[in-house]
């Protein structure tokens, strides 16, 4: 991604919009159909940012479409505002405000709950439009007489009628809409949104305020919906109450899925297919109302067999044909071992960590799951700069202990102090921003992104803080980002695999990336939950080497079952058993501790 990239997508979009009035009519598109396609395409841009990029499936976009449309239509028809563009803007702002409020409620839950709640809220808007507000909205009749745009420059005035003149008005707005959306999805915010879609838990764990970013996507989607709603009224000269129905939201979802999610252009393609087939089936084939059945069947088949829609399918074909050529090249040799000569990453800057003395203190830490006592009254201290090992049999409560230290779960009782601050009950995101994070026992990667993109997500949290609305910023211009990502790549030995998708990595490489994700947030205190789990002996040696190379300037706590490795690495070791601290001391002390031998080795005395 260079700073002076030719804006190819934008240019092609512009050319396409210029060519459409000449290309489409011979194919049987009426100007009004093309105009509707643009409105639905614009509506869908925002929805695609919400669903395709952020992974939030809303069935309630009609609420914002209708709000924007009715506000614009009302102020235009009641002579409150005479300028159509101004009215559209006001409608869009109204939809945006509604989006903030609705988002704050709907985003309290995820997945199917989110889908259900958005359906219900949108339905409420329909009823509000229909009854309590019918005095203003016309209820079931809608608002007729919405004027078309008129521009006056001096004595010269330009009135935009229906048909192709309207097309040019809509095309300009669509073009602006797509240019802005492309900037957004390429911005750091766009990168975080995709990370949230892939793995919301890890996105929060590396220090992004996931809730606020989701709300951002939701509000962007409502802004686009509001603008599109206003345009619908202007286009038709009439604001229909149908804008608020579940059918509207459903049609948007289907068009986006047909065209392809996560592309921004999917909704436009989907709307083209939808509206063309509707006209074609109704008039040419005389199918009457059965057109919707045909479209429903097409939709179900696409979801079953071509989930990424038409654009996704074409992309897959394209990569498949290119992949063939790649396969003919000789297969890549085994990945290189972790490069130990790479410059070590500096530890977190924002944190005033003590250079000596305790950096992390836990007092009386207890976690109870119902009747099960996972951790009981653990006292634990780690000094700054130390490498502390934790061992214990399976079920000893090691992972629960880590989950409490990183504030993934709150302790039932007890306190945690990190760098002089009481962090008990803080969010995982805030704790990571303070410079405490962990790598997971089970890989938590952004599985649809490449290695470099994964590390970039983590580094962005470190360099931008937990939330920033730099919607139009080019990530390449963030000082230090490229360096931080490249250094981490080199440290975990994945430089040559930087542009490989995570799904194509070998297990050992994924484990190293898992550590790299934690590392790229430049933590002052790094917790590693079984970094050696499942590795071959050779990979173990490499990873131990890696751990040694990253400990400079930071504190580390490592859980592992590989005692030889831990005895080699750690200065102090804590042994957990049945949720309690069994022993703590230097590796030599632990090796010779009778209780530990009893617990671990079953009393077998060995040399």
């Amino acid at each position: 991604m260079t700073a002076h990239r030719l804006p190819l997508t934008e240019i092609l979009t512009g050319l396409g919009l210029l060519a459409a009035p000449f290309v489409l009519p011979p194919l049987g598109f009426a100007p009004n159909t093309v105009n509707q396609i643009l409105v639905w395409g614009l509506f869908g841009i925002g929805f695609d940012i919400l669903f395709g990029y952020t992974g939030l499936l809303s069935f309630g976009q009609s609420a914002f479409f209708g709000t924007g449309g009715f506000v614009a239509a009302y102020i235009l028809t009641n002579d409150i505002v005479s300028s159509v563009p101004l009215a559209l803007l006001i409608g869009m702002v109204a939809a945006t405000i509604v989006g903030v409020l609705v988002g704050m409620i709907a985003l309290r839950r995820t997945g199917i709950y989110f889908a259900m709640i958005t359906v219900a809220i949108a339905e409420m808007f329909f009823f509000v439009e229909n009854s309590p507000l019918s005095h203003w909205t016309g209820g079931e009749n809608g608002i007729p007489g919405v004027p078309t745009p008129r521009f006056e420059i001096g004595q010269w005035s330009l009135s935009i009628g229906t048909g192709w003149p309207m097309y040019w008005f809509l095309a300009v707005i669509y073009f602006l809409g797509i240019v802005i959306a492309l900037r957004i999805v390429r911005s750091p915010v766009g990168a975080v949104l995709v990370a949230i879609r892939d793995n919301p838990v890890r996105a929060a764990a590396v220090g992004h305020a996931v809730g606020l970013y989701k709300l951002t996507a939701f509000v962007i989607a409502s802004a686009y919906a509001g603008l599109a709603g206003g345009l619908l009224g202007v286009l038709q000269g009439f604001m229909p109450p149908d804008a608020f129905t579940f059918d509207t939201s459903g049609q948007l979802v289907m068009q986006t899925a047909i065209g392809g999610t996560g592309t921004l252009f999917g909704p436009l393609v989907g709307a083209t297919v939808w509206l063309f087939l509707r006209d074609f089936l109704q008039s040419a084939l005389n199918l009457g109302s059965a057109w919707k059945l045909v479209l429903g069947l097409i939709f179900v088949l696409l979801i079953c067999f071509l989930r990424r829609g038409l654009i996704g399918g074409l992309k897959d074909l394209w990569t498949l044909s290119r992949h063939r050529q790649v396969l003919e090249e000789p297969p890549e040799e085994a990945p290189p071992p972790a490069a130990t000569d790479a410059a070590p990453l500096p530890a977190h800057h924002g944190l005033e960590a003590p250079s000596s003395g305790p950096i992390l203190t836990a007092r009386g830490l207890t976690k109870r799951y119902g009747g099960l006592l996972a951790n009981s009254d653990i006292d634990f201290t780690v000094n700054s700069g130390a490498l502390h090992g934790i061992i214990g049999p399976n079920g000893a409560g090691k992972t629960t202990f880590f989950r409490m230290l990183t504030c993934e779960v709150p302790p039932t009782s007890g306190t945690i102090t990190f760098a002089g601050r009481d962090i008990t009950g803080m969010s995982m995101t805030n704790v990571c921003q303070l410079g405490l994070t962990k790598s997971y026992q089970v890989n938590q990667l952004f599985s649809r992104l490449t290695v470099r993109e994964n590390l970039r997500i983590a580094a962005l949290a470190d360099l931008r803080g937990k939330f920033r609305l730099d919607l139009f910023r080019n990530p390449a211009r963030i000082p230090g980002l490229t360096e931080q990502v490249d250094r981490t790549l080199a440290l975990v030995g994945l430089t040559r695999r930087a542009d490989t998708p995570v799904s194509a990595l070998a297990y050992g490489e994924k484990r190293r990336l898992e550590i790299g994700l934690a590392l790229a947030t430049s933590p002052g205190l790094l917790l590693l939950d079984e970094p050696l789990a499942g590795m071959s002996p050779r990979e173990r040696v490499e990873t131990v080497q890696l751990l040694k190379s990253i400990r400079q300037g930071r504190t580390m706590i490592v859980i592992d079952h590989d005692m030889d490795a831990l005895f080699e690495l750690a200065e102090r070791i804590t042994v957990l058993q049945e949720g309690r601290v069994l022993a703590e001391g230097t590796p030599a002390e632990i090796k010779n501790n009778a209780q530990v031998r009893e617990a671990y080795l079953g009393g077998v005395v060995e040399a």
């Binding site: 499936l57 309290r108 997945g111 339905e123 409420m124 459903g250 979802v253 979801i303």
Partner: protein, 290 residues
């Protein structure tokens, strides 16, 4: 407004609430067991109504209509699970939602193709026509019968869920489906049966409701949205929650309509919002599912 009007509205709320409770139970046990939100659930309700209508037209018998409506939807539910939904267990929740949403549209449009958009109606059985005196007010007999029938259906569903081996597996699956699978129980067969039973609950409600409200192909859509609200209020995946949520929703809808029918849905969604703000898991939702 007088007392008899209020009581009559509360009875209306009870009828609606009982139906919503039954439909929501179907939705919620499917979600609880399979993890799939079935957006074709409203279509199941509608098809139950039409299947019952056909059976009634053919035989003139109300019991046959109810049994035929429910049975057909159960078979349809099993078919949907076997042919389509089964292939979506390993796919993201969004794909499951999309495919069932699409199926719902296909069913609605198929029925529209077959029956047209004109509304159809099934008369109440002869023994349940007219009104019954409740002492202080008179009330349509069939609506009282609906409450009774739905109560029996819910009781049977309760017995199946809490007193049979299948129910034990279903409830265990709601807690931890991986564990159930690893115990050597064929969860896929259970899934199929549960999808059938869940769809049947909606189809049964559809035919029982047909004499109360007329049938159109779109009758399922608003019911399904109300069902979502019920399930969110009661707690997704919770059978008792679906019943409680259904009864609450029924009362909100009918009591508000005494004041102004235009506000009844607004109040319903306001109630859902309050529950979400105060208790995001729903009134009886368990912590384990999210």
């Amino acid at each position: 407004m007088n007392w008899s009007n209020l009581v009559a509205q509360m009875f209306n709320g009870l009828v609606l609430g009982a139906l919503l409770a039954l439909i929501s139970s179907g939705l919620t046990i499917i979600y609880g067991t399979l993890g799939v939100l079935n957006l074709a659930h409203g279509a199941m309700f509608m098809i139950g109504g039409y299947a019952g209508y056909l059976a009634f037209e053919a035989t003139g018998s109300y019991p046959i209509a109810v049994v035929a409506g429910a049975a057909l939807v159960m078979v349809l539910g099993i078919l949907i699970e076997r042919v389509i939904v089964r292939h979506f267990y390993g796919r993201p929740a969004e794909d499951q939602i999309l495919v069932t949403f699409g199926l719902g549209i296909v069913f609605v449009e198929l029925v529209r193709l077959g029956f047209g958009s004109l509304s159809r109606s099934v008369p109440p059985p002869s023994w349940a026509q007219g009104v019954t005196s409740l002492g202080f007010t008179v009330y349509p007999t069939y609506r009282l019968v609906v409450v009774g029938i739905v109560a029996v259906a819910l009781l049977i569903l309760y017995l199946v869920l809490y007193r049979t081996r299948l129910g034990m597996i279903v409830r265990a699956g709601i807690e931890d489906s991986v564990m159930v699978d690893s115990l050597g129980i064929n969860v896929y067969r259970v899934f199929m049966v549960v999808f059938g039973i869940g769809a049947m609950a909606a189809g049964f409600a559809g035919i029982v409701n047909a004499p109360v409200a007329s049938l159109t192909p779109d009758v399922g859509e608003s019911i399904m949205i109300e069902t979502f609200v019920v399930v969110v209020i009661g707690g997704v995946g919770s059978f008792p929650g679906a019943i409680l949520g259904g009864l609450i929703a029924g009362q909100i809808l009918s009591l508000t309509s005494i004041v102004d029918p235009g506000y009844s849905y607004v109040m319903l969604f306001a109630a859902m919002t309050i529950v979400l703000l105060v208790r995001p898991r729903g009134l009886l939702g368990s912590r384990s599912r999210d």
